[in-house]
Symmetry: C2
Subunit: 80 residues, 2 copies
């Protein structure tokens, strides 16, 4: 088995209200050193045999990321 | 600036309907080699100065993950 990890994050210019909400809650926890919180998705694609990055890219393009507001990166999970 | 990455995934025994929906759509794309899709969260915490993993762990525990259904891992982003 091989695993491909897909990280999907909002583009830097897109507001992230979920991340903002977490950032605004930090002082309550006594945490003051964090300047930014951004929340995205992490997707694990498990392949039967060899990891196929081209296939993973097609899946990410079509089903996992919205190219208008998000970018994604792919990598083979060496730990799997 | 230093960045800590928090990966939050559903525990293996917890059903992931979002991942299932993606998995069920794969044959339409002509993709047949993927056996499992799991969708979690990836959070970027940017620190003013040094990355503080203890602080990041406290934030993940309190605000980012639900320990009943999720697990999380932390790491310093060496690329930042």
């Amino acid at each position: 088995m091989a695993r491909v990890l897909v990280d999907v994050m909002l583009k830097p210019e897109i507001l992230d209200p979920q991340g903002e909400a977490v950032a605004n809650a930090l002082p309550r926890l006594g945490v003051n050193g964090i300047t930014s919180v951004r929340i995205g998705k992490r997707i694990e694609l498990d392949f039967e045999g060899e990891a196929d990055l081209e296939q993973a890219r097609a899946v990410a393009d079509a089903l996992l990321a919205n190219p208008v507001i998000e970018t994604f990166t792919l990598r083979v999970d060496e730990g799997s």
